[in-house]
């Protein structure tokens, strides 16, 4: 007798129903050929079945096999099948056997967050493999993993991983609660989970780190943070985070103290430049040219002489072009991407200025803004900072330098007001070891 609940599945061609007969008794095996590894099914089911003298003997085999469970309820069958189980029907009893073929369990090469001298491999797209990668690098009995299924339809497997001794209990219970409350059909990536568990819709700065690097993950685990692994994406989510985490690259741990501090300083300078430079350009060109030296003022005026539009329109044209270029080269396939940058670079660098659309100083401003934006190591923060310059430009074109200063002040206030799971956000460290591991003081 075949279970009624299987009828909907029959429409798919990759749904297999095999009837096995060894001359003594019969079993039915149901599985999705796309989800299951046939080798496992052969090894775990077909071979024991062939040598089993009776149905009872085979029942013992099934019971002794690992990960083989009796399904109490027929309604559970489709769910079990869709999660990569093979279901065995033996005398009206249903057994499920985990036989899923892992989708993509090879660690990928780190592309979104590269280091020069650190580990080169990133996580894979399989959460089990990722958990294994973490356990291998963090062999501590206190490392705890809790499994969750996220998404009403997708039922995405995910693991909450933390060091039981070091974790902040308050943060943990908050996060567990929020993960349980997730109400979405599909859950696909860490950044999405971040959006889903943030209450406010208008979210600007990231307050959780999304990373693809196992080394960053275990470093954060050892600092008492919580990691969320999600099946199907090589990116994991790390909670809680402070602003400084988004400015630190893994190279900071691998380089010497002086080099590290210099690089961090460089990033903060880049952060400041990418946020304020376009706004400062507008403010200086349109409101306060007296703050520059007279020699530069005159050459700036000279370079702008051919531009008929007010400075903020010039800035918006140029920034639109550069943002479009960045987005395009991000989305385009790698082979076309280089064409886009070449064409775009040529047009932006030369023609726009010669056509009298923008001044040559504006070209420098644009390139400085684009390049210094890439200094920020975590992409989520880099995106957030990209957005920050527009309100500043707006304020600059209304109020000049006073507007820029006020805008920066407001951004600092906003960041200072943020919390990441109850922890203050706009600070250097969460009472943890410094990323370098050398710093004294912050630890107990």
């Amino acid at each position: 007798m075949e279970a009624k609940s299987l009828e909907t599945l029959r429409h798919s061609d990759d749904f297999k129903v095999d009837t096995l007969d060894n001359g003594l008794f019969q079993i039915e095996v149901y599985f999705f050929s796309s989800l299951c590894d046939t080798d496992t099914i052969k090894k775990e089911i077909a071979h024991p079945f062939l040598v089993s003298p009776s149905a009872d003997a085979f029942k013992i085999v099934l019971k002794s096999a690992l990960a083989c469970k009796i399904l109490e309820n027929e309604a559970e069958i489709p769910g079990a099948l869709l999660q990569g189980n093979a279901v065995i029907q033996l005398q009206d009893a249903y057994y499920k056997l985990l036989a899923s073929s892992p989708a993509n369990d090879k660690p990928t090469e780190a592309v979104a967050e590269t280091t020069l001298q650190g580990p080169q491999s990133a996580f894979s797209e399989d959460s089990e493999t990722n958990l294994k990668l973490i356990r291998q690098r963090y062999p501590d009995p206190n490392l705890t993993a809790e499994q969750y299924k996220l998404g009403k339809v997708s039922r995405t497997k995910s693991y909450l991983v933390y060091d039981r001794n070091k974790v902040n209990r308050k943060v943990l219970s908050q996060l567990q609660q929020k993960i349980k409350e997730i109400d979405a059909d599909m859950v696909m990536a860490g950044g999405q989970v971040e959006t889903l568990i943030t209450k406010t819709k208008i979210r600007w700065f990231p307050i959780m780190i999304v990373t693809e690097r196992p080394d960053r993950t275990i470093l954060n685990l050892s600092q008492g943070k919580i990691v969320l692994l999600i099946d199907g994406t090589p990116f994991v989510l790390i909670v809680p985070a402070v602003f400084y985490d988004f400015i630190s690259a893994m190279d900071d741990v691998y380089q010497s103290f002086v080099v590290t501090r210099a690089l961090v300083l460089l990033r903060y300078v880049g952060l400041l430049i990418t946020m304020t430079l376009p706004a400062m350009y507008v403010a200086i060109v349109s409101y306060n040219p007296e703050i520059l030296k007279v020699q530069f003022t005159l050459s700036l005026a000279g370079s702008r002489a051919a531009v008929p539009y007010p400075s903020f329109i010039e800035v918006m044209i140029m920034l639109f072009l550069i943002e479009a270029l960045v987005e395009a080269s991000l989305r385009l396939p790698r082979y076309i991407g280089s064409t886009a940058t070449t064409v775009g670079g040529l047009i932006l660098g030369q023609a726009a200025q010669q056509a009298g659309l923008v001044s040559s100083v504006m070209i420098i401003v644009t390139s400085a803004v684009a390049i210094s934006n890439f200094l920020i190591p975590i992409n989520a923060m880099s995106f957030a900072i990209r957005m920050a310059k527009y309100p500043l430009i707006f304020l600059a074109s209304l109020f000049g330098i006073a507007g820029v200063v006020t805008g920066m002040f407001a951004i600092v206030l906003y960041a200072a007001n943020l919390t990441s799971f109850g922890e203050p956000y706009f600070r250097f460290f969460l009472k943890e070891n410094a990323t370098s591991g050398y710093k004294e003081g912050d630890t107990e």
Binding site: V294, R304, A305
Partner: protein, 363 residues
Amino acid sequence: MRKILLSLVAAVSLLLGSGCGLKDIDKRFFVIVVGIDKGDSSLFKVTLKLAIPSPRTEPGEAKFQTISQEADSIAEAVRLMKSKVDKEFDFGQAKDIVIGKSFADTHEIGHSLDFFFRRRDIQEIANVSIGEPDAATVINAKPLSERLPGNSLILAFSDEGTESPYIIKTPLFDYYRRIFDLGKDPYLPIIRALEETFVINRVAILKTNYKRLELNPDETAALNQLARGYKRFVIKSPPNEPRLTFSSTRLKSTYKILTPKNGDPVIRFHIRVDVEAEESEEKLFEKNWHDLERLAATQLKDQYLELLTKLQKHGVDPIGFGIRYRATRHEKSKEYENWRKIYPNVRFDIRVAVHFRGTGIIK
């Protein structure tokens, strides 16, 4: 949502309307130098040197435009001049204010410059000077090396370009302070315009906003050393001695005003100078260096004494003895009055210690 959208639209349209504050850099005429002369029919003749910016800057290619206007006040002249140009005047880069010699010789200067003290867009870093023969000539002079209009004047006064012991600069704020402080008199450098360059090597001393006297180049250098501690200058040997020139590398000068109960008031200078030989007709290494030091010290002492006596004779005090006197005495409101009585009788006691640091040549 609609509210946000509406306010956004309003904001953008406000932006496009561009209010009064927003004026792009290419819609402004940068006034680099302001000249003030005696007008033919009115009190002032104001001349502005307006920079014409160009994307390419080549030496000698500085483009500028000068416009003049006569009026009874500077503000009025500027207003009238606005109708002669196509862009808004921007005084934010006005680095030099030149007062014509004919005006400076005959008119009160301090309050005539009131316009510049009050306008917020005139930078407080502007330098004030006197132009010879008049301000318009100085403004119209076109040095061959200039890449940007007015640049050579700016460089001359900013210590970025040439460094000369004969150039004394007077920033506007310093000038303003000296006008109102009791016991410190203002001085103004004199720029003489030649066809393709300037000569700035003299200084005029003022008292109660009127020009009192001009110093010659040597006296100007001495004043520069005493009043501003300018340390790079040369000391020449007396005329009948073999030619020998020292250059100083360090200068430290302090003074005290001594008013003993019974005796004459004395201003005692202690000046320490380090020198090196810069030019000499004789071999110096074997000579007695103490003799050389004494020679230089006498030269300096004579020079300083001559200058101080001249200033005293004319009743001017650019070094600020008066303000020092007022700062170190407590005679209630009478300090300045007392000082004015003392100053004509004060004796200068100058003690120069010269240290010879080397002959400048490896033996």
